[in-house]
């Protein structure tokens, strides 16, 4: 018994040491675990059949046939296509032109666009880099305090984790729902089911409040230290046309609201909504990138949008079910019309893809979607080997015992788990923590009586704060990499501090008022 626990702890320590070498995280987690499993088998401390189940685990319901996670590559595709079509740039330009005239306006623009981009891509690095490249130079040119500018950009970039439809929330939902069913098995309770929709609903209020806090802070600075964020003093570019605003701001907003609305209202499960989102991104990108040389393609794309709307209407006008015995003439017409609308939709989708391909954006977008998806799922594979071996040694019981022995009862246990995740957040990505740490600490915490959704939201807020905390915060790394040389690293670090304060306020708010995270999910559950 003692030997097994020693091996489990040594494996954890070795993994952390090996991770610091800078080799691929996924392979390090899996490889170190495998080496320890082999040692364990040699010493008779590890059940060998467990290791033989590796391939069936990979092809089973937790990885290759995981229906929850199908939404992940779809949202990634949606994000990279929007990124490739320069929707992000458009958003930022329009928002800063609209808001630039007031004090702190560029700051508000960055926060709002960060929230929107977050909702559309959910990729911290991409959002931070885009905003640093576009917004930071113009903020500095207008004599913004570099600390305020970089702090706002880094903080807004991390919003992508908490504002739905964030990719990491989907991964977190998968991990937490597994933990919840484990906990339920121990407690002898058929209780909790945690779906992606629940987490999206739970994260919505805290996410919006966080945006509100950021905006309020910038307003406060604009009021007390006007010189830190002056309004635009000169503007040599032509005024914005209504078309630009509707198209650049309205269209992405509509797409995001439609996807989110469909999930939260329960019309469509996340996977289905994600595929609509990806299709919408293709259509938008097709319209955005097409120019006068290809006249027919944009009209095809518009026809596709019309087709989509038509399907929604027709379904409510007619009984379109083809499976029923007798179909009335009216319904036959309805079915015919819907088939035409469906065909239009798919033709338009093909036109969108054609435009993307013509502008040499399709293949790079697909390639980077494949890269990001493979990255995520290789970590899932590595982490599942790690968890398998850690469990084989009984490491999960050790973690549970340590948490239950924590001083201060269940709140002490929660605090310890949160602190550990916060520190791990310095050098591990959200994904790794979700796949490795969450399955270990969540079941005991749920058994102690914490609500799974509330726990997940707290963890998401906690990790988001970790990514913002100097010296190791991920967002700050990305920002440093993309920021011009004359911005001092010390300024970036100091700029982040007020926003960390806001994060902590938010964490305390959610911790003390669980309804902030659990009220909306309880509504949608009905």
């Amino acid at each position: 018994m003692e030997l097994e626990i020693f091996l489990a702890l040594a494996m954890f320590a070795t993994a952390i040491g090996a991770l610091l070498s800078g080799y691929s995280v996924a392979l390090t987690l899996g490889g170190v675990a495998l080496l320890y499993a082999l040692i364990g088998i040699g010493l008779g401390a590890f059940p060998e059949p467990m290791l033989r189940s590796m391939p069936s685990r990979i092809q089973g319901g937790s990885i290759m046939q995981n229906e929850t996670l199908i939404a992940v590559p779809l949202f990634i595709l949606m994000g990279v296509i929007l990124e490739r079509s320069r929707v992000a740039e458009d958003l930022l330009h329009i928002a800063s032109r609209l808001l630039g005239k007031v004090r702190g306006g560029l700051g508000y623009a960055v926060v709002l666009v960060g929230a929107l981009l977050a909702a559309s891509t959910g990729i911290v690095g991409a959002t931070v880099i885009t905003m640093t490249l576009i917004a930071l130079p113009s903020m500095l040119r207008q004599n913004y305090d570099p600390r305020l500018a970089t702090g706002a950009i880094a903080a807004s970039g991390t919003l992508g984790q908490i504002i739905p439809p964030s990719i990491v929330l989907i991964l977190l939902a998968d991990a937490v729902s597994n933990s919840a069913s484990q906990a339920a098995a121990v407690m002898g309770d058929a209780g909790f089911v945690v779906s992606v929709g629940d987490l999206f609903a739970g994260a919505l209020l805290p996410g919006i409040m966080l945006v509100g806090l950021y905006l309020a802070y910038i307003a406060f600075i604009a009021f007390t230290r006007p010189e830190a964020c002056p309004p635009t003093s000169f503007d040599d570019s032509p005024p914005l046309t209504a078309k630009e605003v509707i198209f650049g701001l309205g269209a992405p907003l509509l797409l995001i609201l439609a996807v989110l609305g469909a999930i939260l209202s329960g019309i469509a499960p996340p996977t289905q909504a994600a595929s609509i989102g990806a299709a919408g991104a293709i259509l938008l990108a097709g319209l955005r990138l097409s120019d006068d040389s290809d006249k027919r393609l944009p009209s095809l794309i518009l026809a596709a949008l019309a087709g989509l709307v038509a399907i929604l209407f027709l379904r409510n006008l007619f009984d379109l079910r083809m499976g029923v015995e007798a179909i009335s003439t009216a319904n036959r017409i309805g079915i015919g019309l819907t088939l035409i609308a469906t065909a239009l939709f798919f033709i338009g989708l093909a036109a969108g893809l054609a435009v993307l391909h013509k502008k040499a954006q399709l293949l790079p977008a697909l390639k980077s979607a494949v890269h990001i998806t493979s990255m995520v799922f290789l970590i899932l594979i590595g982490a599942s080997i790690f968890s398998l071996v850690f469990r084989g040694f009984g490491g999960d019981d050790v973690v549970a015992d340590m948490l239950s022995a924590a001083p201060g009862g269940k709140w002490g246990a929660l605090l310890i788990a949160m602190l550990v995740m916060f520190v791990l957040g310095f050098f591990l990505d959200f994904i790794e923590i979700v796949f490795v740490v969450v399955p270990l600490v969540t079941p005991p915490l749920i058994i102690m009586g914490f609500d799974p959704i509330w726990l997940a939201i707290l963890m998401a807020l906690n990790l988001q704060t970790s990514f913002l905390t100097p010296p190791f915060g991920f967002a700050l790394f990305y920002l440093r990499g993309a920021a011009p040389e004359e911005v001092k690293t010390a300024d970036i670090w100091r700029g982040a501090i007020p926003f960390i304060g806001l994060q902590i306020i938010m964490i305390i708010l959610v911790a003390s008022l669980p309804a902030l995270a659990t009220w909306l999910p309880s509504l949608t559950a009905r």
């Binding site: 170190v32 390639k367 493979s374 990505d429």
Partner: protein, 221 residues
């Protein structure tokens, strides 16, 4: 179809794999005898990279198929109240194919996440040694273990030409299960290629990897 044919074919492939084992040593040979071996090493890693490129193309096709199949599922069930198991299985197949075929390309293009805290301080040579150690101690063991552990189950699946458990499902579950060894073999091959590149860089026969990759690579989620 003759049910004996596939296991025979599988055994043949396995022996082919075993015969290719000396290739694992090539990166180490490059370290010792760079001049003699680089004539084999350079074309070999280029070939492997190209093969991985084909797998990437397959993964990209799977990505587009994923969107299209999932949309068909959505429209059919939302508008017409129709759903077929084989259609939802196509979605799953496209989903899994995307990352099982794409993982090796992500390895080639350095798109897998690393911990970047100490890495910049190691210097070019240090990073290449880490790469070599990682490939031999971590990547190869995982993939070989996957191949070995999956052999029996896969042979059974091919002998039965195992199909979906549902009656209206796809009859090709054995192909889906084959994605795991395909993934392992692609990763091993790409591992050999990366090890060759690291060894060639260490001996000065290949230009150092550029460190200017802020946008494409590692933007975590």
């Amino acid at each position: 179809m003759d049910s004996q044919l596939f296991p025979l074919l599988g055994t043949g492939l396995k022996w082919l794999g075993l015969l290719a084992l000396p290739l694992f040593l090539l990166p180490l040979l490059v370290l010792v005898l760079p001049r003699l071996t680089q004539r084999i090493a350079t074309p070999l890693f280029k070939t492997i990279d190209r093969i991985t490129g084909f797998a990437l193309a397959g993964a990209m096709v799977a990505a587009v198929s994923l969107i299209v199949f999932q949309l068909i599922v959505v429209v059919m069930s939302y508008a017409f109240g129709l759903s077929w198991t084989w259609m939802s299985e196509l979605v799953i197949y496209a989903f899994a194919t995307m990352f099982m075929l794409g993982a090796a390309a992500a390895l080639r293009d350095d798109a897998h996440v690393r911990v970047d805290i100490l890495r910049p301080r190691f210097g070019e040579n240090g990073r290449n040694w880490v790469e070599l150690a990682g490939i031999y101690l971590l990547l190869f063991p995982i993939c070989i273990r996957l191949l070995a552990a999956g052999e029996q189950g896969l042979a059974r699946s091919w002998m039965l030409l195992e199909g979906s458990r549902e009656t209206d499902g796809l009859p090709v579950l054995f192909l889906f299960k084959t994605l795991v060894p395909v993934f392992a073999i692609l990763m091993i091959a790409q591992g050999v290629s990366e090890a060759l590149k690291a060894a060639l860089r260490l001996t000065g026969h290949l230009a150092p990897a550029s460190e200017t990759k802020t946008e494409e690579a590692h933007h975590g989620a």
